[in-house]
Protein backbone atom coordinates (compact mmCIF):
# COMPACT_ATOMS: atom_id res chain seq x y z
CA UNK A 1 0.00 0.00 0.00
CA UNK A 2 2.52 2.62 1.13
CA UNK A 3 5.13 1.18 -1.22
CA UNK A 4 2.65 1.77 -4.02
CA UNK A 5 2.07 5.33 -2.77
CA UNK A 6 5.81 5.88 -2.80
CA UNK A 7 6.13 4.48 -6.32
CA UNK A 8 3.26 6.67 -7.54
CA UNK A 9 4.66 9.76 -5.82
CA UNK A 10 8.10 9.23 -7.31
CA UNK A 11 6.74 8.48 -10.78
CA UNK A 12 4.67 11.66 -10.73
CA UNK A 13 7.70 13.64 -9.55
CA UNK A 14 9.96 12.22 -12.25
CA UNK A 15 7.24 12.66 -14.93
CA UNK A 16 6.83 16.31 -13.93
CA UNK A 17 10.57 16.84 -14.15
CA UNK A 18 10.74 15.13 -17.56
CA UNK A 19 7.81 17.18 -18.88
CA UNK A 20 9.01 20.43 -17.36
CA UNK A 21 11.01 21.83 -20.34
CA UNK A 22 7.84 21.59 -22.45
CA UNK A 23 5.85 23.73 -20.03
CA UNK A 24 8.37 25.96 -18.25
CA UNK A 25 10.10 28.84 -20.02
CA UNK A 26 13.85 28.89 -20.52
CA UNK A 27 14.64 30.87 -17.38
CA UNK A 28 12.89 28.31 -15.21
CA UNK A 29 14.41 25.37 -17.06
CA UNK A 30 17.82 26.80 -16.21
CA UNK A 31 16.69 27.45 -12.65
CA UNK A 32 15.51 23.86 -12.16
CA UNK A 33 18.75 22.62 -13.76
CA UNK A 34 20.62 24.57 -11.10
CA UNK A 35 18.42 23.06 -8.40
CA UNK A 36 19.02 19.52 -9.68
CA UNK A 37 22.78 20.14 -9.63
CA UNK A 38 22.49 21.33 -6.03
CA UNK A 39 20.38 18.24 -5.26
CA UNK A 40 23.23 16.00 -6.48
CA UNK A 41 25.66 18.04 -4.39
CA UNK A 42 23.42 17.88 -1.31
CA UNK A 43 22.89 14.14 -1.85
CA UNK A 44 26.65 13.57 -1.77
CA UNK A 45 26.96 15.51 1.49
CA UNK A 46 24.06 13.54 2.90
CA UNK A 47 26.10 10.34 2.44
CA UNK A 48 28.51 11.80 4.99
CA UNK A 49 26.19 13.74 7.29
CA UNK A 50 23.02 11.70 7.16
CA UNK A 51 24.32 8.16 6.72
CA UNK A 52 27.85 8.02 8.12
CA UNK A 53 27.41 10.70 10.78
CA UNK A 54 30.30 12.83 9.51
CA UNK A 55 29.36 16.52 9.57
CA UNK A 56 31.58 18.20 6.99
CA UNK A 57 31.74 21.95 6.66
CA UNK A 58 34.14 21.82 3.73
CA UNK A 59 32.27 19.81 1.15
CA UNK A 60 32.37 22.64 -1.41
CA UNK A 61 36.10 21.92 -1.79
CA UNK A 62 35.31 18.92 -4.01
CA UNK A 63 32.55 20.75 -5.88
CA UNK A 64 34.88 23.65 -6.63
CA UNK A 65 37.95 21.60 -7.47
CA UNK A 66 36.03 19.72 -10.16
CA UNK A 67 34.86 23.03 -11.64
CA UNK A 68 38.42 24.32 -11.69
CA UNK A 69 39.68 21.12 -13.29
CA UNK A 70 37.20 21.60 -16.13
CA UNK A 71 38.14 25.28 -16.50
CA UNK A 72 41.88 24.63 -16.51
CA UNK A 73 41.58 21.61 -18.79
CA UNK A 74 39.36 23.36 -21.36
CA UNK A 75 41.35 24.86 -24.24
CA UNK A 76 40.54 28.51 -25.03
CA UNK A 77 39.98 28.03 -28.73
CA UNK A 78 37.92 24.88 -28.95
CA UNK A 79 35.72 22.67 -26.81
CA UNK A 80 36.98 19.92 -24.51
CA UNK A 81 35.61 16.39 -24.73
CA UNK A 82 32.75 15.93 -22.28
CA UNK A 83 33.76 12.39 -21.32
CA UNK A 84 37.46 13.13 -20.79
CA UNK A 85 36.86 16.33 -18.85
CA UNK A 86 34.13 14.73 -16.73
CA UNK A 87 36.37 11.79 -15.88
CA UNK A 88 39.24 14.12 -14.98
CA UNK A 89 37.04 16.39 -12.87
CA UNK A 90 35.35 13.58 -10.93
CA UNK A 91 38.54 11.62 -10.33
CA UNK A 92 40.36 14.83 -9.38
CA UNK A 93 37.67 15.60 -6.79
CA UNK A 94 37.78 12.00 -5.52
CA UNK A 95 41.58 12.13 -5.26
CA UNK A 96 41.33 15.40 -3.34
CA UNK A 97 38.79 13.71 -1.03
CA UNK A 98 41.21 10.81 -0.55
CA UNK A 99 44.00 13.16 0.50
CA UNK A 100 41.87 15.40 2.71
CA UNK A 101 39.90 12.45 4.09
CA UNK A 102 43.04 10.58 5.12
CA UNK A 103 43.93 13.56 7.30
CA UNK A 104 40.57 14.81 8.61
CA UNK A 105 39.07 11.38 9.38
CA UNK A 106 41.64 10.99 12.14
CA UNK A 107 39.56 13.50 14.07
CA UNK A 108 35.93 13.32 15.08
CA UNK A 109 33.07 15.47 16.30
CA UNK A 110 33.71 19.20 16.43
CA UNK A 111 37.35 18.70 15.44
CA UNK A 112 36.25 16.97 12.26
CA UNK A 113 33.98 19.90 11.39
CA UNK A 114 36.84 22.34 11.97
CA UNK A 115 39.35 20.24 10.04
CA UNK A 116 37.10 19.94 6.97
CA UNK A 117 36.47 23.68 7.09
CA UNK A 118 40.21 24.38 7.39
CA UNK A 119 41.15 22.27 4.36
CA UNK A 120 38.40 23.77 2.22
CA UNK A 121 39.51 27.28 3.20
CA UNK A 122 43.09 26.43 2.29
CA UNK A 123 41.95 25.44 -1.19
CA UNK A 124 39.82 28.58 -1.38
CA UNK A 125 42.85 30.77 -0.72
CA UNK A 126 45.04 28.80 -3.11
CA UNK A 127 42.65 29.74 -5.93
CA UNK A 128 41.75 33.15 -4.51
CA UNK A 129 45.27 34.46 -3.89
CA UNK A 130 47.29 32.95 -6.71
CA UNK A 131 47.20 33.52 -10.44
CA UNK A 132 46.80 29.85 -11.39
CA UNK A 133 43.13 30.30 -12.25
CA UNK A 134 42.27 33.97 -12.42
CA UNK A 135 42.48 34.71 -8.69
CA UNK A 136 39.42 36.14 -7.04
CA UNK A 137 37.71 36.88 -10.38
CA UNK A 138 37.74 33.25 -11.38
CA UNK A 139 38.16 31.83 -14.85
CA UNK A 140 35.88 31.46 -17.86
CA UNK A 141 35.15 28.32 -19.80
CA UNK A 142 34.86 29.78 -23.29
CA UNK A 143 33.61 26.69 -25.04
CA UNK A 144 31.30 24.22 -23.33
CA UNK A 145 32.47 20.61 -23.49
CA UNK A 146 31.12 18.59 -26.41
CA UNK A 147 29.34 15.33 -25.73
CA UNK A 148 30.03 12.85 -28.52
CA UNK A 149 29.25 9.17 -28.82
CA UNK A 150 31.40 8.13 -31.74
CA UNK A 151 30.57 10.72 -34.41
CA UNK A 152 27.15 11.37 -33.04
CA UNK A 153 26.39 14.33 -30.80
CA UNK A 154 23.21 13.34 -28.94
CA UNK A 155 23.08 16.44 -26.74
CA UNK A 156 24.24 20.01 -27.15
CA UNK A 157 25.33 21.18 -23.70
CA UNK A 158 24.88 24.80 -24.69
CA UNK A 159 21.21 24.11 -25.29
CA UNK A 160 19.34 24.67 -22.04
CA UNK A 161 16.80 21.90 -22.70
CA UNK A 162 19.45 19.34 -23.64
CA UNK A 163 21.58 20.26 -20.65
CA UNK A 164 18.53 20.01 -18.40
CA UNK A 165 17.94 16.40 -19.46
CA UNK A 166 21.60 15.53 -18.98
CA UNK A 167 21.49 16.90 -15.43
CA UNK A 168 18.17 15.18 -14.74
CA UNK A 169 19.62 11.86 -15.92
CA UNK A 170 22.64 12.34 -13.65
CA UNK A 171 20.45 13.20 -10.64
CA UNK A 172 18.38 10.07 -11.13
CA UNK A 173 21.49 7.99 -11.77
CA UNK A 174 23.27 9.30 -8.67
CA UNK A 175 20.18 8.72 -6.50
CA UNK A 176 19.88 5.12 -7.74
CA UNK A 177 23.62 4.60 -7.24
CA UNK A 178 23.41 5.84 -3.65
CA UNK A 179 20.35 3.70 -3.02
CA UNK A 180 22.26 0.64 -4.24
CA UNK A 181 25.35 1.21 -2.14
CA UNK A 182 23.30 2.04 0.94
CA UNK A 183 21.64 -1.37 0.73
CA UNK A 184 24.93 -3.17 0.16
CA UNK A 185 27.15 -4.52 2.92
CA UNK A 186 29.19 -1.31 2.59
CA UNK A 187 26.08 0.78 3.21
CA UNK A 188 25.18 -1.27 6.29
CA UNK A 189 28.66 -0.61 7.65
CA UNK A 190 28.53 3.17 7.21
CA UNK A 191 25.09 3.39 8.81
CA UNK A 192 26.39 1.22 11.65
CA UNK A 193 29.26 3.69 12.06
CA UNK A 194 26.80 6.56 12.40
CA UNK A 195 24.74 4.75 15.01
CA UNK A 196 27.58 3.29 17.07
CA UNK A 197 31.12 3.42 15.76
CA UNK A 198 32.58 1.98 18.94
CA UNK A 199 30.47 -1.15 18.61
CA UNK A 200 31.39 -1.46 14.93
CA UNK A 201 35.06 -1.59 15.91
CA UNK A 202 34.34 -4.15 18.61
CA UNK A 203 32.60 -6.25 15.95
CA UNK A 204 35.80 -6.23 13.90
CA UNK A 205 35.22 -3.45 11.39
CA UNK A 206 38.17 -1.19 10.65
CA UNK A 207 35.88 1.81 10.57
CA UNK A 208 38.46 4.30 9.31
CA UNK A 209 38.71 2.53 5.94
CA UNK A 210 34.95 2.58 5.42
CA UNK A 211 34.67 6.22 6.40
CA UNK A 212 37.49 7.07 4.00
CA UNK A 213 35.90 5.21 1.09
CA UNK A 214 32.59 6.92 1.83
CA UNK A 215 34.37 10.28 1.97
CA UNK A 216 35.94 9.59 -1.44
CA UNK A 217 32.61 8.53 -2.99
CA UNK A 218 30.93 11.64 -1.57
CA UNK A 219 33.79 13.79 -2.86
CA UNK A 220 33.52 12.26 -6.32
CA UNK A 221 29.77 12.88 -6.51
CA UNK A 222 30.26 16.45 -5.27
CA UNK A 223 32.81 16.74 -8.07
CA UNK A 224 30.20 15.62 -10.60
CA UNK A 225 27.88 18.35 -9.32
CA UNK A 226 30.67 20.94 -9.47
CA UNK A 227 31.53 19.91 -13.01
CA UNK A 228 27.91 20.30 -14.11
CA UNK A 229 27.66 23.69 -12.37
CA UNK A 230 30.80 24.87 -14.17
CA UNK A 231 29.37 23.71 -17.50
CA UNK A 232 26.09 25.48 -16.80
CA UNK A 233 27.55 28.85 -15.85
CA UNK A 234 30.65 28.80 -18.04
CA UNK A 235 32.68 30.30 -15.22
CA UNK A 236 34.28 29.13 -12.00
CA UNK A 237 35.43 31.32 -9.13
CA UNK A 238 36.68 30.76 -5.60
CA UNK A 239 33.15 31.06 -4.18
CA UNK A 240 32.61 27.55 -5.56
CA UNK A 241 35.01 26.26 -2.88
CA UNK A 242 33.97 28.59 -0.09
CA UNK A 243 32.57 27.86 3.33
CA UNK A 244 29.45 29.80 2.41
CA UNK A 245 28.52 27.23 -0.22
CA UNK A 246 29.50 24.38 2.14
CA UNK A 247 27.13 25.89 4.69
CA UNK A 248 24.31 26.35 2.17
CA UNK A 249 24.46 22.76 1.00
CA UNK A 250 24.55 21.54 4.61
CA UNK A 251 21.41 23.59 5.24
CA UNK A 252 19.75 21.95 2.24
CA UNK A 253 20.49 18.54 3.73
CA UNK A 254 19.13 19.55 7.14
CA UNK A 255 16.11 21.34 5.68
CA UNK A 256 15.24 18.40 3.43
CA UNK A 257 15.90 15.64 5.93
CA UNK A 258 19.18 13.90 6.77
CA UNK A 259 19.59 10.22 6.17
CA UNK A 260 16.91 9.87 3.49
CA UNK A 261 17.54 9.79 -0.25
CA UNK A 262 14.64 12.13 -1.03
CA UNK A 263 15.59 14.64 1.71
CA UNK A 264 18.45 16.47 -0.02
CA UNK A 265 16.41 16.71 -3.25
CA UNK A 266 13.49 18.24 -1.36
CA UNK A 267 15.96 20.41 0.53
CA UNK A 268 17.54 21.75 -2.65
CA UNK A 269 14.14 22.55 -4.16
CA UNK A 270 12.75 24.14 -0.98
CA UNK A 271 15.79 26.21 -0.23
CA UNK A 272 16.29 27.54 -3.75
CA UNK A 273 12.63 28.32 -4.24
CA UNK A 274 12.53 30.08 -0.88
CA UNK A 275 15.61 32.09 -1.81
CA UNK A 276 13.98 33.05 -5.10
CA UNK A 277 10.75 34.10 -3.40
CA UNK A 278 12.38 35.93 -0.50
CA UNK A 279 14.72 37.80 -2.86
CA UNK A 280 11.74 39.35 -4.63
CA UNK A 281 10.31 40.39 -1.25
CA UNK A 282 13.25 41.99 0.49
CA UNK A 283 16.98 42.49 0.20
CA UNK A 284 17.26 41.01 3.68
CA UNK A 285 16.16 37.65 2.30
CA UNK A 286 18.90 35.73 4.12
CA UNK A 287 17.25 36.72 7.39
CA UNK A 288 14.03 35.03 6.25
CA UNK A 289 15.95 31.91 5.18
CA UNK A 290 17.49 31.85 8.64
CA UNK A 291 14.05 32.02 10.25
CA UNK A 292 12.84 29.10 8.11
CA UNK A 293 15.89 27.00 9.03
CA UNK A 294 15.31 27.70 12.73
CA UNK A 295 11.63 26.79 12.43
CA UNK A 296 12.46 23.55 10.60
CA UNK A 297 15.07 22.66 13.20
CA UNK A 298 12.50 23.28 15.95
CA UNK A 299 9.41 21.68 14.46
CA UNK A 300 10.63 19.28 11.77
CA UNK A 301 13.64 17.47 13.19
CA UNK A 302 13.53 15.10 10.23
CA UNK A 303 13.24 17.91 7.71
CA UNK A 304 10.74 18.31 4.90
CA UNK A 305 11.06 14.58 4.22
CA UNK A 306 9.72 14.02 7.74
CA UNK A 307 6.35 15.29 6.48
CA UNK A 308 6.12 12.28 4.18
CA UNK A 309 4.83 8.99 5.58
CA UNK A 310 7.51 6.79 7.10
CA UNK A 311 8.14 4.51 4.13
CA UNK A 312 11.59 3.50 5.28
CA UNK A 313 10.42 1.61 8.34
CA UNK A 314 7.52 -0.05 6.59
CA UNK A 315 9.82 -1.15 3.83
CA UNK A 316 12.02 -2.82 6.42
CA UNK A 317 8.97 -4.67 7.68
CA UNK A 318 7.94 -5.65 4.17
CA UNK A 319 11.49 -6.85 3.52
CA UNK A 320 11.58 -9.03 6.61
CA UNK A 321 8.18 -10.43 5.83
CA UNK A 322 9.59 -11.59 2.50
CA UNK A 323 12.49 -13.19 4.27
CA UNK A 324 10.36 -15.09 6.76
CA UNK A 325 7.13 -15.97 5.04
CA UNK A 326 4.25 -17.06 7.22
CA UNK A 327 5.42 -14.99 10.16
CA UNK A 328 3.03 -12.38 11.39
CA UNK A 329 4.02 -9.20 13.08
CA UNK A 330 2.37 -7.72 16.08
Amino acid sequence: MSNRALAIGLSVGVALLVAFPFIGDRFYVQFVTKILIMAIFAGSLNLLVGYTGLVSLGHAAFFGVAGYILALYSPDTHAASFWTSLLLAVSGAALMALIIGTLVLRTSGIFFIMATLAFAEMLFYVFHDTAIAGGSDGIYIHERPVLMIGNWQPLDLAHSGHFYYLVLAFSIGVTLFMRTILRSPFGQVIVGIRVNEHRMRALGFHTFRYKLVCFVIAGGIAGLAGYLAAVQFGVVNPEMLGWHLSGSVLMMVILGGMGTLIGPILGAFSMMFLEEIFQTMTKHWQLLIGVVIVLVALFLPRGVAGLLPDWQRRRTKAGSAQRAPGKTHA
Binding site: T180, I181, R183, S184, P185, F186, G187, Q188, V189, G192, V195, N196, H198, R199, M200, R201, A202, L203, G204, F205, H206, T207, R209, Y210, V213, T316, K317, G319, S320, A321, R323, A324, K327, H329
Partner: protein, 257 residues
Protein backbone atom coordinates in the same frame (compact mmCIF):
# COMPACT_ATOMS: atom_id res chain seq x y z
CA UNK B 1 30.93 -30.44 34.71
CA UNK B 2 34.41 -29.30 35.65
CA UNK B 3 37.87 -30.68 35.05
CA UNK B 4 36.62 -33.36 32.70
CA UNK B 5 37.38 -31.38 29.54
CA UNK B 6 40.53 -32.21 27.61
CA UNK B 7 43.18 -29.52 27.77
CA UNK B 8 43.19 -28.34 24.19
CA UNK B 9 45.63 -25.58 24.87
CA UNK B 10 45.52 -22.16 26.40
CA UNK B 11 43.43 -19.80 24.29
CA UNK B 12 43.81 -16.66 26.32
CA UNK B 13 46.54 -15.70 28.71
CA UNK B 14 47.48 -12.51 30.51
CA UNK B 15 50.80 -11.86 32.22
CA UNK B 16 51.01 -9.16 34.88
CA UNK B 17 48.41 -7.13 33.04
CA UNK B 18 47.93 -3.62 34.45
CA UNK B 19 46.02 -0.50 33.64
CA UNK B 20 46.33 2.76 35.51
CA UNK B 21 44.00 5.72 35.26
CA UNK B 22 46.10 8.53 36.69
CA UNK B 23 47.05 7.34 40.15
CA UNK B 24 44.39 4.63 40.23
CA UNK B 25 45.34 1.04 39.45
CA UNK B 26 42.13 -0.27 37.87
CA UNK B 27 43.84 -3.52 36.93
CA UNK B 28 46.99 -4.39 38.81
CA UNK B 29 49.28 -7.21 37.71
CA UNK B 30 46.62 -9.70 36.69
CA UNK B 31 47.84 -13.04 35.35
CA UNK B 32 45.28 -15.58 34.30
CA UNK B 33 44.59 -18.14 31.60
CA UNK B 34 41.54 -19.49 29.84
CA UNK B 35 41.64 -22.77 27.96
CA UNK B 36 39.43 -24.02 25.18
CA UNK B 37 36.39 -25.63 26.80
CA UNK B 38 36.84 -23.69 30.01
CA UNK B 39 34.54 -21.21 31.68
CA UNK B 40 36.73 -18.91 33.70
CA UNK B 41 34.57 -16.74 35.92
CA UNK B 42 35.87 -13.49 37.33
CA UNK B 43 34.02 -12.08 40.31
CA UNK B 44 34.64 -9.26 42.70
CA UNK B 45 32.94 -6.25 44.23
CA UNK B 46 32.02 -3.24 42.12
CA UNK B 47 35.13 -1.32 41.13
CA UNK B 48 37.33 -4.40 41.35
CA UNK B 49 38.50 -3.87 37.76
CA UNK B 50 36.57 -6.67 36.07
CA UNK B 51 35.18 -4.58 33.22
CA UNK B 52 38.53 -2.86 32.75
CA UNK B 53 40.12 -6.29 32.48
CA UNK B 54 37.68 -7.23 29.71
CA UNK B 55 38.33 -3.92 27.97
CA UNK B 56 42.06 -4.67 28.03
CA UNK B 57 41.51 -8.12 26.56
CA UNK B 58 39.17 -6.90 23.81
CA UNK B 59 41.39 -4.01 22.72
CA UNK B 60 38.92 -1.36 23.86
CA UNK B 61 41.67 -0.16 26.21
CA UNK B 62 45.45 -0.38 25.97
CA UNK B 63 47.29 -1.89 28.93
CA UNK B 64 49.73 0.26 30.88
CA UNK B 65 51.91 -2.79 31.48
CA UNK B 66 51.88 -6.53 31.02
CA UNK B 67 51.02 -8.77 28.10
CA UNK B 68 48.07 -10.53 26.50
CA UNK B 69 48.44 -13.74 24.48
CA UNK B 70 45.90 -15.30 22.21
CA UNK B 71 46.56 -18.92 21.34
CA UNK B 72 50.21 -18.31 22.13
CA UNK B 73 50.59 -15.16 20.01
CA UNK B 74 51.08 -11.83 21.68
CA UNK B 75 48.19 -9.43 21.00
CA UNK B 76 49.01 -6.76 23.59
CA UNK B 77 47.89 -3.33 22.44
CA UNK B 78 46.21 -4.46 19.20
CA UNK B 79 43.13 -2.47 18.20
CA UNK B 80 39.67 -3.83 18.96
CA UNK B 81 38.84 -4.66 15.30
CA UNK B 82 42.03 -6.71 14.99
CA UNK B 83 41.40 -8.60 18.21
CA UNK B 84 37.82 -9.22 17.17
CA UNK B 85 38.95 -10.61 13.82
CA UNK B 86 41.35 -12.95 15.63
CA UNK B 87 38.29 -14.66 17.09
CA UNK B 88 37.58 -12.81 20.31
CA UNK B 89 33.97 -11.78 20.81
CA UNK B 90 32.83 -9.61 23.65
CA UNK B 91 29.58 -8.41 25.12
CA UNK B 92 29.15 -5.23 27.07
CA UNK B 93 27.92 -4.74 30.61
CA UNK B 94 25.98 -1.69 29.47
CA UNK B 95 23.96 -2.77 26.45
CA UNK B 96 25.85 -1.57 23.38
CA UNK B 97 23.81 -2.36 20.28
CA UNK B 98 22.27 -0.56 17.33
CA UNK B 99 19.00 0.57 18.87
CA UNK B 100 17.40 1.84 15.67
CA UNK B 101 18.05 -1.46 13.83
CA UNK B 102 15.99 -4.61 14.10
CA UNK B 103 17.30 -7.58 16.07
CA UNK B 104 17.99 -9.29 12.75
CA UNK B 105 19.87 -6.30 11.32
CA UNK B 106 22.03 -6.09 14.44
CA UNK B 107 23.02 -9.71 14.10
CA UNK B 108 23.44 -9.61 10.34
CA UNK B 109 25.82 -6.67 10.73
CA UNK B 110 27.75 -8.67 13.30
CA UNK B 111 27.87 -11.66 10.93
CA UNK B 112 28.95 -9.36 8.10
CA UNK B 113 32.10 -8.52 10.06
CA UNK B 114 33.36 -12.02 9.17
CA UNK B 115 33.23 -11.41 5.41
CA UNK B 116 36.74 -11.00 4.03
CA UNK B 117 35.69 -7.43 3.33
CA UNK B 118 32.51 -5.37 3.48
CA UNK B 119 33.77 -3.19 0.62
CA UNK B 120 30.95 -4.67 -1.45
CA UNK B 121 28.85 -2.00 -3.02
CA UNK B 122 26.32 -3.40 -5.44
CA UNK B 123 24.55 -6.48 -4.10
CA UNK B 124 21.99 -5.84 -1.38
CA UNK B 125 23.11 -6.98 2.06
CA UNK B 126 19.83 -8.79 2.55
CA UNK B 127 20.56 -11.07 -0.41
CA UNK B 128 23.60 -12.59 1.34
CA UNK B 129 21.89 -15.79 2.42
CA UNK B 130 24.85 -17.03 4.49
CA UNK B 131 24.80 -13.86 6.62
CA UNK B 132 21.07 -14.20 7.22
CA UNK B 133 21.55 -17.80 8.30
CA UNK B 134 24.30 -16.95 10.78
CA UNK B 135 22.22 -14.08 12.15
CA UNK B 136 19.06 -16.17 12.53
CA UNK B 137 20.98 -18.95 14.22
CA UNK B 138 22.44 -16.54 16.78
CA UNK B 139 18.99 -15.06 17.37
CA UNK B 140 17.53 -18.53 17.94
CA UNK B 141 20.37 -19.46 20.27
CA UNK B 142 19.55 -16.62 22.64
CA UNK B 143 15.83 -17.30 22.36
CA UNK B 144 14.70 -14.25 20.41
CA UNK B 145 13.47 -16.01 17.27
CA UNK B 146 10.00 -14.50 17.55
CA UNK B 147 11.39 -11.00 17.89
CA UNK B 148 13.86 -10.96 14.98
CA UNK B 149 12.11 -8.20 13.08
CA UNK B 150 11.48 -5.88 16.01
CA UNK B 151 13.51 -2.72 16.39
CA UNK B 152 15.83 -3.18 19.35
CA UNK B 153 14.68 0.04 21.01
CA UNK B 154 11.18 -1.44 21.30
CA UNK B 155 12.43 -4.49 23.24
CA UNK B 156 12.58 -4.88 26.99
CA UNK B 157 15.86 -4.35 28.78
CA UNK B 158 16.32 -8.10 29.25
CA UNK B 159 15.69 -8.76 25.56
CA UNK B 160 18.22 -6.10 24.62
CA UNK B 161 20.72 -7.99 26.77
CA UNK B 162 19.93 -11.10 24.73
CA UNK B 163 20.58 -9.14 21.51
CA UNK B 164 23.93 -8.12 22.95
CA UNK B 165 24.88 -11.78 23.33
CA UNK B 166 23.42 -12.79 19.97
CA UNK B 167 25.58 -10.19 18.22
CA UNK B 168 28.66 -11.51 19.94
CA UNK B 169 27.79 -15.06 18.83
CA UNK B 170 27.11 -13.95 15.25
CA UNK B 171 30.78 -13.02 14.89
CA UNK B 172 31.58 -16.71 15.45
CA UNK B 173 34.26 -16.19 18.10
CA UNK B 174 36.48 -18.84 19.69
CA UNK B 175 36.99 -16.75 22.81
CA UNK B 176 34.02 -15.13 24.52
CA UNK B 177 34.48 -12.23 26.90
CA UNK B 178 31.14 -11.75 28.61
CA UNK B 179 30.68 -8.76 30.87
CA UNK B 180 27.74 -9.48 33.15
CA UNK B 181 25.63 -11.15 30.45
CA UNK B 182 22.79 -11.87 32.88
CA UNK B 183 22.49 -8.39 34.37
CA UNK B 184 18.96 -7.09 33.91
CA UNK B 185 17.52 -10.38 32.65
CA UNK B 186 14.48 -12.04 34.11
CA UNK B 187 14.76 -15.49 35.71
CA UNK B 188 13.52 -17.32 32.62
CA UNK B 189 15.88 -15.54 30.20
CA UNK B 190 18.73 -16.00 32.67
CA UNK B 191 18.32 -19.75 32.86
CA UNK B 192 18.06 -19.91 29.09
CA UNK B 193 21.33 -17.99 28.71
CA UNK B 194 23.00 -20.14 31.38
CA UNK B 195 22.03 -23.25 29.42
CA UNK B 196 23.31 -21.61 26.22
CA UNK B 197 26.66 -20.80 27.84
CA UNK B 198 26.90 -24.35 29.13
CA UNK B 199 26.32 -25.63 25.60
CA UNK B 200 28.81 -23.18 24.13
CA UNK B 201 31.52 -23.86 26.70
CA UNK B 202 32.67 -27.04 24.97
CA UNK B 203 33.75 -25.25 21.81
CA UNK B 204 34.83 -21.93 23.27
CA UNK B 205 37.06 -20.38 25.87
CA UNK B 206 34.76 -18.24 27.98
CA UNK B 207 35.81 -15.50 30.34
CA UNK B 208 32.73 -14.64 32.35
CA UNK B 209 32.28 -11.63 34.57
CA UNK B 210 29.06 -12.11 36.49
CA UNK B 211 27.40 -11.10 39.74
CA UNK B 212 24.86 -13.94 39.71
CA UNK B 213 26.63 -16.42 42.01
CA UNK B 214 24.31 -19.31 41.19
CA UNK B 215 25.22 -18.89 37.52
CA UNK B 216 28.90 -18.55 38.31
CA UNK B 217 29.05 -21.70 40.44
CA UNK B 218 27.01 -23.73 37.99
CA UNK B 219 29.14 -22.75 34.98
CA UNK B 220 32.67 -22.00 36.10
CA UNK B 221 35.58 -24.44 35.87
CA UNK B 222 37.90 -21.81 37.24
CA UNK B 223 37.08 -18.93 39.52
CA UNK B 224 39.11 -15.78 40.02
CA UNK B 225 38.29 -13.22 42.66
CA UNK B 226 39.47 -9.68 42.03
CA UNK B 227 39.64 -6.94 44.63
CA UNK B 228 40.99 -3.44 43.97
CA UNK B 229 42.30 -4.41 40.55
CA UNK B 230 44.34 -7.36 41.75
CA UNK B 231 43.72 -11.11 41.90
CA UNK B 232 42.86 -12.10 45.46
CA UNK B 233 42.38 -15.81 44.81
CA UNK B 234 42.16 -18.03 41.76
CA UNK B 235 41.53 -21.72 41.32
CA UNK B 236 38.79 -24.35 41.44
CA UNK B 237 35.48 -22.82 42.47
CA UNK B 238 35.18 -24.90 45.67
CA UNK B 239 38.69 -24.07 46.74
CA UNK B 240 38.14 -20.40 46.13
CA UNK B 241 34.80 -20.45 47.88
CA UNK B 242 36.41 -22.05 50.89
CA UNK B 243 39.15 -19.47 51.03
CA UNK B 244 39.03 -17.43 54.21
CA UNK B 245 40.39 -14.33 52.49
CA UNK B 246 37.68 -14.49 49.83
CA UNK B 247 34.94 -14.96 52.38
CA UNK B 248 36.09 -11.95 54.30
CA UNK B 249 36.71 -9.76 51.27
CA UNK B 250 33.81 -10.60 49.10
CA UNK B 251 31.67 -13.68 49.33
CA UNK B 252 30.95 -13.26 53.01
CA UNK B 253 29.08 -10.09 52.25
CA UNK B 254 26.66 -12.04 50.06
CA UNK B 255 24.47 -14.39 52.01
CA UNK B 256 23.71 -16.75 49.12
CA UNK B 257 27.33 -17.59 48.32
Amino acid sequence: MRDDKPDSGTMLETRSLSRHFGGLSAVDGVSLTCRMGEVHAVIGPNGAGKSTLINLLSGDLEPSAGQVFLHGDEVTGLSSPRISLLGVGRSYQKTNVFLSFSVFENCRLAAQSRLATSMRFFRAARSYRALSDVAMRAIEQVGLAGRADERVDTLSHGEQRQVEIAMTLATNPRVLLLDEPLAGMGAEESSQIIELLRALSGGHAILLVEHDMDAVFSLANTLTVMVNGAVLESGLPETVRASRAVQVAYLGEHSHA
